[in-house]
């Protein structure tokens, strides 16, 4: 039998204790929920006491959103599929393609000096053009279909991932690369076991920004030449002066944004826990 595990404390070394999860979560939930409840109550009170067609009460907005998405006979309404999920689908597809592209090109730029020096001027020029300004060009080149929207989103979000990946991959400490060489690790394995994990904190920061940009670009792309999607519904509601519906879709977007953010928080917590914890020790 193996000898019993010696405790770190017998060596006089303090153990890195994980913060008590439940307690911390409860406190941060408190910080988050209490101001929200206060704010929404004030808003509700103000709009009830002083009704305005431009600013409907929050409860009415929430109720209307529920009706729009879940108010039918079935579990969800048709709008849920034709517009809500359509936008989510476009956004996710564009986000995934743009992220993958950004990681691939960013890695090449970070690894090869020749590639970096050739590509950097082009990257700097193209990413200075606001992505939204390229929408008319994408429409002319690719038409008004879903593929155009996905390509447009992918193009716009790829820059954030690309720049961060190139920076992360390019700034890996020499010792880590020497390590791979000394132990005769193949270049492919070096890429996946040293380079990309080491760059992951920076890549992930890029992914966070890209996720926000993806939602933004998805909505903008649906303002023009679209027949469905949350952006399309917003423009329709505006045209018909249905302010309650406009507010409802905006609420839907807020919830969607929050969901994406929490999901990324969770993934980051799993993938990058080493980064946070090792930082906390310094």
């Amino acid at each position: 039998m193996p000898t019993p595990t010696r405790s770190l404390e017998t060596h006089g070394i303090p153990i890195a204790r994980r913060p008590r999860r439940s307690r911390k979560a409860l406190i941060s939930l408190g910080y988050f929920v209490i101001p929200l409840v206060v704010l929404v109550s004030l808003w509700q009170l103000a709009t009830t006491l002083n009704p305005s067609p431009f600013f409907p009460p929050p409860l009415a907005i929430a109720e209307n959103l529920w009706k729009l998405l879940f108010g039918g006979d079935a579990l969800v309404t048709e709008l849920f599929f034709t517009d809500f999920l359509t936008t989510v689908g476009r956004m996710l597809a564009g986000f995934a393609i743009g992220t993958a592209w950004g990681i691939v090109v960013g890695t090449i730029m970070g690894r090869s000096r020749a590639a970096r020096e050739t590509v950097t001027p082009i990257v700097e020029l193209l990413r200075s053009i606001p992505a939204t300004a390229t929408l008319p060009l994408f429409i002319i080149l690719l038409g008004g279909g879903d593929d155009m929207r996905v390509v447009f989103i992918a193009y716009g979000v790829s820059w954030f991932v690309l720049i961060n990946t190139a920076a992360g991959v390019g700034s890996i400490h020499k010792t880590m690369l020497d390590l791979g060489q000394v132990f005769k690790v193949s270049r492919t394995r070096q890429l996946f076991t040293i380079v990309l994990p080491a760059a992951m904190p920076k890549i992930f920061a890029g992914i966070r920004i890209a996720s926000t940009a993806a939602l933004l670009l998805a909505i903008v792309s649906e303002f023009i030449l679209a027949t469905n999607g949350i952006g399309f519904q917003l423009i329709q509601a505006q045209g018909r002066f249905q302010l309650l519906t406009m507010w409802s879709w905006m609420l839907a977007l807020a919830i969607l944004g929050l969901l994406i953010n929490s999901l990324l928080d969770y993934v980051e917590g799993r993938v990058l826990s080493w980064h946070k914890l090792s930082r906390a020790r310094i």
Partner: protein
């Protein structure tokens, strides 16, 4: 890069029984007016099972020499032979312990995965790999720490992990680049004795770069003293102190005191009498 030596793999210059032969190695960084001549015409050989310390003033090109021996840097001229073969990259059967353990250990891998890192190829089965990792950790006194992460350990323990990783590779030649430069004095003594232990246990040849004169004498069978750059060998000193070495009795031995003073004079002044 100019290569004046013939590319023959068999013509080992000098000593044919040696594990490492360094033949007239020079290295210059950059060119023109900014060129820095780090090492010049270095020549020495290392026998199997020797423990060779390399000391010199700071900035003397010790790291350049070690990187050349590791095949990480190809010299401007001259050549290095390991096991009778002229190296053109990282030689087989060689491992290295880096100075900066916080950079050389991968923080996203647990201690045991860090140690298993050099075993990545398909040469070993999972069970073999597991056994090698366990034995290597045991050799450095870290059994039971496999599931920890490097950043949960003290500096001295992290450097032990780095040593265990080198052991897992089962090298004949171990290069150590100022491995104990950033740990405290007491931890350092423990690590020095550990290195001597594993050298005996695994039958390795060790090249140990340090700027600590006492350490160079305490550990080695031979001390190579380098000059200021462009570095050449000022003296190749044989250390015949009783084995096994002991932190107290070896260091109070008059021969030790004499040798360390001699090395110190060479490092500081460049002449033994200085």
């Amino acid at each position: 890069m100019t290569d004046v030596q013939p590319k023959s793999t068999h013509a080992v210059p000098g000593d044919p029984g040696a594990l490492v032969v360094v033949d007239n190695v020079s290295h210059t960084y950059g060119s023109g007016s900014t060129a820095h001549n780090a090492i010049r015409n270095l020549a020495f050989s290392v026998q199997p099972r020797e423990f060779v310390s390399i000391v010199g003033p700071s900035g003397a090109g010790k790291t350049t020499l070690l990187r050349t021996l590791a095949g990480l840097l190809s010299p401007s001229s001259g050549g290095v032979w390991v096991e009778g073969k002229r190296i053109s990259g990282v030689p087989d059967d060689m491992a290295m312990v880096f100075q900066d353990y916080s950079r050389s250990l991968l923080p996203w891998l647990s201690v045991e995965k860090n140690v298993a890192f050099p075993l990545g190829g398909s040469k070993h089965s999972t069970a073999e790999r597991h056994e090698i990792v366990r034995e290597s950790l045991e050799a450095v006194g870290l059994d039971g720490f496999g599931k920890r992460y490097p950043w949960q350990l003290s500096g001295g323990m992290q450097q032990r992990v780095a040593i265990a990783r080198a052991l897992a590779y089962r090298p004949k030649l171990l290069l150590m680049d100022e491995p104990f430069a950033s740990v405290d004095a007491q931890t350092r003594e423990g690590l020095e004795d550990l290195v001597l232990q594993i050298r005996d246990r695994y039958d390795m040849t060790i090249l140990f770069v340090t700027h600590d004169i006492d350490e160079s004498v305490y550990l080695a069978n031979r001390v190579l003293v380098l000059s200021r750059p462009p570095a050449h060998i000022v003296e190749d000193l044989r250390i015949e102190l009783p084995e096994p070495r002991d932190q107290i009795t070896t260091r109070e031995n008059p021969d030790f005191v004499h040798l360390r003073s001699r090395v110190a004079r060479l490092v500081h002044g460049g002449t033994p009498e200085g």
